[in-house]
């Protein structure tokens, strides 16, 4: 049986809260898992300073997540998305990182297929057009 990394729903009606769990694929959603490695709150909270985008919180024990991925646990799609934000696996969908976070630059460049040019560098790098050969 496959070991999966997936979400287990908690909270109340219309107020979901999720545990990120490691469990056997065929057990019930909310059954007791092998391990709880994090939480995900999908309800957006208003931005603390009153302006900007609302935020969502994700907590994750990255070490345990890496271990479980390493031994072949299969993340579900939503967990894949969350793990991709932590930089644990290749994202399946486009995510935008804040470029200011230097340690994530490599991943950002990879995902966005762009090259971040540090301040002071050339403004634009225009690729030369291939000249048509007659």
């Amino acid at each position: 049986m496959v070991v999966r990394l997936r979400l287990a729903r908690f909270g109340a009606r219309n107020r979901p809260l999720y545990n990120i769990v490691v469990s056997q694929a065929r057990t019930a959603r909310n059954s007791k898992p092998m391990e709880v490695i994090g939480t995900y709150d999908p309800i957006p909270k208003p931005a603390p300073d009153g302006e900007g985008k609302p935020f969502k919180d994700i907590q994750l024990d990255v070490t345990r997540a890496k271990y479980w991925l390493g031994v072949g646990a299969q993340p579900s799609d939503p967990v894949w998305r969350l793990f991709a934000m932590f930089g644990l696996i290749e994202p399946q969908w486009k995510i935008v990182r804040i470029p200011a976070q230097q340690e994530d630059r490599a991943l950002y460049e990879k995902v966005q297929k762009v090259k971040i040019i540090p301040d002071g560098g050339p403004k634009t790098t225009s690729t030369p057009k291939p000249t048509p050969t007659s």
Binding site: G38, T39, A47, K53, P54
Partner: protein, 369 residues
């Protein structure tokens, strides 16, 4: 009615703070009584309602015709009112007197009344029907609904007033102090500053500003002008606390004094002096009454402001530290805050099954956990 400090006598406009003095950093602590007074005598808009009973209010007479005479009225009267105003952008319809119905376009009083008169109207008649536009303007500003004279408008702050508030903020004064200086509520000052920031940014970005609406609204409402009287409203008003809405009966010995502090205690609230928006002004007044010299007063106030600023700063830093923990990933609609966790402690709890309904298991606990 909320408890409020009322002025013992209405001051005159000669109480205006001189321009040179109002820029002093020691304001408002040096000034005698401006904190208590707020509004110009003409606009006591927050007073108790003095609406006339329904049967005494002026009403439109019902006339025959389509839609209760409305279409007829529009043809006969409405068209005449839809003309440019002689002065100050005040809409002409505000000069409307419900009875008798005006028969012609209102002409402002002045020397050229006779020249402007409609054909077929005598000079005498024209002079009699001319409208004192200053009076109309003033009246219309304070009560914009011609048939509801008891409706009073709270004044709005002028463009210059807002600019002055912004300049004071730029001069590193706290919102609290600006509020005390220009007698403008804390929330209003904060809102003005926020909007001014946006306005300045827009001007910088060369985005068009829509000032037409503002001009029109200012023409129709009473406006607090900074240049003539740099005060806006009462800043000592207390919000009504819902707990004070209910009656409370309390036996108090006759010989004992019972003041506001005791009343607040009985209701389980903080005393009004502490709850009011500018409680620090009470301390200033107390110091004044005690005959404390100005230097000491200013020193005490400066210390208090310093303390307050430090508290605010510490609070903000704590919040930023709390919110800034972990990385942030921004998507199109949301920001995801990624926080490290420990697998042993994280997660919502899985309950322990209660076996108290099982056969043979005692519901009454026999041991203390």
């Amino acid at each position: 009615m909320p408890p409020r400090l009322r002025p013992s006598s209405l001051p005159s406009t000669s109480n205006v703070i001189p321009q040179s003095f109002s820029s002093s950093p020691l304001l408002p602590f040096l000034l005698p009584s401006y904190h208590i007074y707020t509004q110009t005598p003409t606009s006591s808009s927050r007073n108790f309602s003095t609406s006339k009973p329904a049967y005494r209010r002026v009403r439109f007479e019902k006339t025959e015709g389509t839609r209760n005479g409305f279409v007829d009225w529009m043809k006969k009267v409405g068209g005449r009112l839809n003309v440019p105003s002689p002065q100050d952008n005040v809409p002409v319809y505000l000069s409307y007197e419900p009875a008798p119905l005006p028969t012609r376009f209102p002409v402002a009083k002045g020397s050229d009344v006779c020249r402007k008169r409609d054909p077929g109207v005598s000079r005498k008649q024209a002079k009699r029907d001319a409208v004192d536009w200053t009076q109309v303007t003033d009246k219309a500003r304070h009560s914009p609904f011609p048939t509801n004279a008891s409706f009073k408008v709270h004044p709005v702050i002028s463009t210059e007033f807002r600019e002055q508030i912004y300049l004071r903020m730029k001069a590193d004064r706290s919102v609290r102090r600006i509020s005390a200086e220009v007698n403008c509520e804390l929330e209003r000052v904060a809102a003005v500053i926020r909007l001014k920031e946006i306005e300045k940014r827009w001007i910088e970005e060369k985005r068009p500003l829509c000032t037409e609406m503002q001009t029109r609204v200012h023409a129709m409402m009473p406006v607090s002008q900074y240049s003539t009287f740099p005060q806006h409203e009462s800043i000592t008003d207390l919000r009504i606390h819902s707990q004070t809405n209910n009656q409370l009966f309390l036996s108090v010995p006759e010989s004992m004094p019972f003041n506001r502090k005791d009343a607040a205690e009985a209701l389980g609230l903080l005393p009004a002096d502490v709850r009011m928006p500018h409680s620090e002004l009470i301390e200033v007044e107390k110091m004044k009454l005690d005959g404390v010299d100005v230097q000491t007063m200013v020193k005490v106030e400066m210390e208090r402001e310093q303390r307050e600023a430090e508290e605010t700063k510490a609070k903000r830093e704590r919040r930023e530290k709390r919110l800034g923990a972990g990385k942030v990933v921004e998507t199109e609609r949301f920001r995801f805050r990624l926080k490290p966790a420990n697998a042993a402690a994280v997660g919502h709890r899985y309950g322990v099954p209660a076996e108290d309904r099982k056969r043979g298991i005692n519901k009454i606990p026999t041991r203390v956990l």
